[in-house]
């Protein structure tokens, strides 16, 4: 443990500094984009009626929503709030963004974890299968499958699956109103099954390709020959020598995919009515609730950074060479 910590100390400091810069950049970009896009919270709430508002009314509404102040003041005000733990308020629902996130984020994390599990379960054995006989039928079939899973858009797969299951088997748990894992574990897992499968399938493809390439690369390494010359039987050779080394790039790929999933799998959440972080951003955007969008995007960016740090940690566990540096 101390060895691990010592190895981490220096790069960790550097990574944290990088993370802060990234987060500030993301928040600035979100802030500016939101304000450059035409329309604001007034037009969003009043629709065409906004055109009939008098200048006085508009001014008081702007003051109410806090968008009358100059941009830098708005930004710093928001940032100050975030730093003191106040992510802002959703004016439409009257709840704090922190409370909204506390509800949405666990759902997204759960979905992401399940999707990654599905993706790895499909991708790693698939990659091993493809690599076992490169260039042969088995390889071709897995490659074709992986290409298909990559090219079929997830909304298509999602709707097709949902329609089929609902019509043919009458099974559509997502229609019953979302329950969290704690409220009703059994129903929750049923509700998560389809989105996790759809997302998992789309992740499986890059995982499969990475695994296949890595295995083929490792297999021609000298140390594999050394192991064979020792008389190591095939199964042990495959797991201890080939796969252990081939997993190193797969860890990187998985971390990347996990990061994307945590930023809210909007399409899957929308189709399967999972109230996750992606939908929260979407609602915020529709309502032009600046604070909601800014804070939620920041939360997503933080998750991304955390996942990257986590990937680094796992990396250190699987590759002793990185540990030493």
């Amino acid at each position: 443990m101390t060895r691990l910590r010592a190895a981490l100390s220096r790069p960790l400091v550097r990574r944290l500094a990088e993370a802060v810069v990234t987060l500030v950049g993301v928040s600035l970009l979100t802030f500016v984009v939101l304000r450059v896009v035409p329309g604001d919270q007034i037009t969003a709430s009043y629709g065409i009626a906004a055109g009939e508002l008098s200048p006085d009314q508009i001014r008081s509404l702007e003051a109410y929503y806090g968008i009358d102040r100059p941009w830098p003041v708005q930004y710093l005000g928001w940032l100050g709030g975030v730093l003191s733990g106040n992510l802002g308020l959703s004016t439409a629902s009257g709840t704090s963004v922190a409370a909204l996130t506390a509800q949405a984020l666990p759902n997204t994390v759960e979905l992401a974890v399940l999707a990654i599990v599905v993706g790895l379960l499909l991708g790693i054995p698939g990659g091993m299968l493809a690599a076992s006989r490169p260039g042969r039928a088995r390889d071709g079939a897995t490659q074709l499958g992986s290409l298909l899973s990559l090219s079929v858009p997830s909304f298509l797969l999602a709707t097709a699956l949902a329609t089929f299951l609902a019509n043919q088997l009458g099974w559509y748990p997502n229609g019953e109103g979302y329950r969290t894992l704690l409220e009703d574990p059994w129903l929750n897992l049923q509700q998560m099954a389809l989105p996790a499968l759809v997302l998992g399938v789309s992740i499986a493809s890059p995982v499969l390709q990475t695994t296949r390439t890595a295995i083929l690369g490792v297999r021609s390494e000298d140390f594999v020959r050394t192991a064979r010359a020792k008389g190591v039987p095939p199964r042990l050779l495959q797991v201890r020598h080939v796969l252990r080394n081939a997993l190193i790039p797969v860890v990187t790929m998985t971390g990347l995919q996990f990061g994307f999933l945590l930023s809210g799998a909007l399409v899957a959440e929308q189709i399967f009515a999972v109230p996750g972080i992606g939908r929260q951003v979407l609602l915020g955007l529709q309502q032009k609730e600046y604070a909601v969008v800014q804070s939620t995007v920041l939360v997503i960016a933080v998750m991304f950074v955390l996942v990257n740090l986590l990937t680094d940690l796992v990396y250190r566990l699987v590759d002793p060479r990185v540990r030493a540096r």
Partner: protein, 552 residues
């Protein structure tokens, strides 16, 4: 040298008869081994010597049946005791590998699994053959490492391969190969990737351990001198056939086959010196007559590197004074890490010295950069160790050789074409090769291309960083001859960086010995080799294989 089974003597533990191996390639079948007979008796060391492509490694991989996938045995037999390995099934072979036939691979840097501790990898060799398990296997691994010459084995057994140097890793691989006391140990160029001084130690330890455990050794090497020194018997392999076999001493003193004679003549440890110091006053060609005027002078140069995780910078080059006279070859020798390559980079001005100055042709070029460095860049050209890595794989030979001309805007397309032809001619390459790409050339041809490229701008100094170290002896000899001829014709100066003192003896007018960033000794190579003052120089000299043979 066929030994019919003599009832009085123990039969061979390994017996190869009429072995033929073919590789299927895109251009059809290529036969790599063509009817080889070889016997290895228990406890004996047999060396198989040949240049790359002679089939010697293929022969070795027939013994543990780890041929590349496109290779297959087409005829003959390989008998280990009573077992014919050519017809044995995979299960039997698995039982043979590691338990009855051990293998030490060529490159220790890539031969170990990077994610497992060395202890786990040695223990695995014992475990797969049910020799020991768990803590017993670990204890055996420690004992083996100790016997292979690893100090502090009890602690190091739990370390990972990247925490070991090349020599240490090779000891680990030797311990691993001998873990089950195999009858035969295959050592395929076991030390050619190691430093000369380490080579000797590792070979000694391997021989000792194999002897202790009663394993016969099949030593595969390109180095005839090394083979003659290490083996009881030597088999010389040429184009897939064994052209001569005999007791080591006999083979070196009375070679019968033409090819053996050529190998012996080219071996740097044995060959005659190629350059002579010209008597003072004698003028010769383009070379300045009389006293040596310095072309390149490094005075008191220091180069420090920051090492992550250490507060003290590492001094790679420490107060080095070095002079390359016009028309002469100056060699810098030392082990890896001695700072010799950094010295080369300083001489090329690829790095800036932290202290000291670099003078070229009487001018201080230390602080020059950009445009003002252009003239220097033209006059000083590098040739690196690995010609395959230093040539762009997508460039044809012509493009590669013409590139310096293009960069320095010399001539137009037509004159460059002519220049390239002349340069190829100069390095004795057929013009027909101009359209080829590096992967279509042999190692020696590639190095000639690299030399032609270096000569394109009419340089005055060529810096050769281990430029012949990766070449087979016969090819090495040709390239060295070429170097010497070009020096005579063009009055070139060479700064020759190498770890191989035997080569230095052949071509250098002056030699500097480097250790830990400092020059410990310098002078005329003949004098220095005859009477080295420093212990370190003596160790480097002793490490040249076949020194004893040269004297006899």
């Amino acid at each position: 040298m066929s030994t019919p089974s003599d009832p009085g003597r123990a039969g061979p533990v390994l017996s190869v008869r009429g072995l033929r191996v073919a590789f299927s390639t895109a251009r059809g079948d290529v036969e790599a081994v063509r009817g080889v007979d070889l016997d290895v008796r228990a406890g004996e060391t047999v060396a198989v010597v040949g240049e790359s492509g002679s089939g010697k490694s293929t022969l070795a991989s027939c013994v543990n049946r780890l041929l590349p996938e496109n290779g297959r045995i087409t005829a003959g037999s390989v008998r280990l005791g009573d077992l014919d390995l050519t017809t044995a099934d995979e299960r039997t072979l698995r039982d043979v590998r590691g338990r009855r036939v051990g293998m030490v691979p060529q490159d220790p840097m890539t031969g170990l699994n990077p994610v497992l501790t060395v202890g786990a990898q040695i223990a695995e060799a014992l475990e797969v053959h049910d020799r020991a398990r768990g803590s017993a296997a670990r204890a055996d691994a420690v004992a083996l490492l100790e016997r292979a010459g690893l100090t502090d084995a009890g602690h190091r057994v739990d370390q990972y391969p990247h925490e070991f140097s090349g020599g240490m890793r090779q000891r680990v691989l030797i311990a691993m190969a001998l873990a089950c006391r195999p009858e035969v140990l295959l050592a395929d160029e076991p030390t050619s990737a190691l430093d000369v001084t380490v080579q000797r130690l590792v070979l000694d330890q391997m021989a000792e351990l194999a002897d202790d455990l009663g394993s016969a050794v099949v030593l595969i090497t390109h180095d005839l001198a090394l083979a003659a020194e290490r083996a009881d018997r030597v088999a010389v392999m040429y184009r897939g056939e064994i052209v001569e076999t005999g007791p080591a001493e006999e083979l070196v003193t009375q070679p019968r086959h033409e090819y053996t004679r050529r190998l012996l003549g080219a071996a740097p440890g044995l060959a005659a010196r190629k350059v002579r110091d010209r008597p003072a006053g004698a003028s010769e060609g383009a070379v300045d007559p009389g006293e040596e005027s310095p072309l390149l002078t490094l005075s008191g140069v220091v180069r420090r590197y920051r090492v992550p995780g250490r507060s003290e910078p590492l001094t790679a080059v420490d107060q080095v004074d070095l002079e390359v006279p016009v028309g002469r070859t100056v060699a810098v020798v030392g082990e890896s890490g001695s700072g010799k390559s950094t010295t080369a980079r300083l001489a090329l001005r690829l790095e800036d010295p932290d202290e000291g100055t670099v003078h070229f042709d009487g001018e201080d070029v230390t602080g020059r950069r950009g445009r003002r460095l252009r003239g220097f860049r033209r006059a000083v050209q590098p040739v690196f160790q690995n010609p395959y890595a230093s040539l762009d794989p997508r460039y044809t030979v012509e493009q590669a050789v013409a590139e310096p001309l293009v960069v320095h805007r010399v001539g137009d397309a037509r004159t460059r074409r002519v220049a390239v032809r002349e340069l190829l001619d100069r390095v004795a390459l057929p013009v027909a090769l101009a359209e080829r790409r590096p992967h279509e050339l042999s190692g020696g041809q590639r190095q000639r291309v690299a030399i032609a490229r270096a000569l394109a701008l009419d340089p005055r100094l060529v810096v050769m960083d281990e430029a012949v170290s990766a070449l087979d002896v016969l090819v090495q000899e040709q390239v060295l001859d070429l170097m010497v001829r070009l020096q005579e014709e063009l009055g070139l100066s060479y700064l020759f960086i190498t770890h191989d003192l035997a080569v230095v003896r052949l071509v250098a007018h002056r030699v500097y010995v480097m250790k830990d960033g400092r020059i410990v000794e310098h002078g005329d190579p003949e004098a220095l080799f005859a009477d080295p003052r420093e212990d370190y120089t003596r160790r480097l000299l002793d490490a040249i294989p076949g020194r004893s043979l040269a004297r006899s």
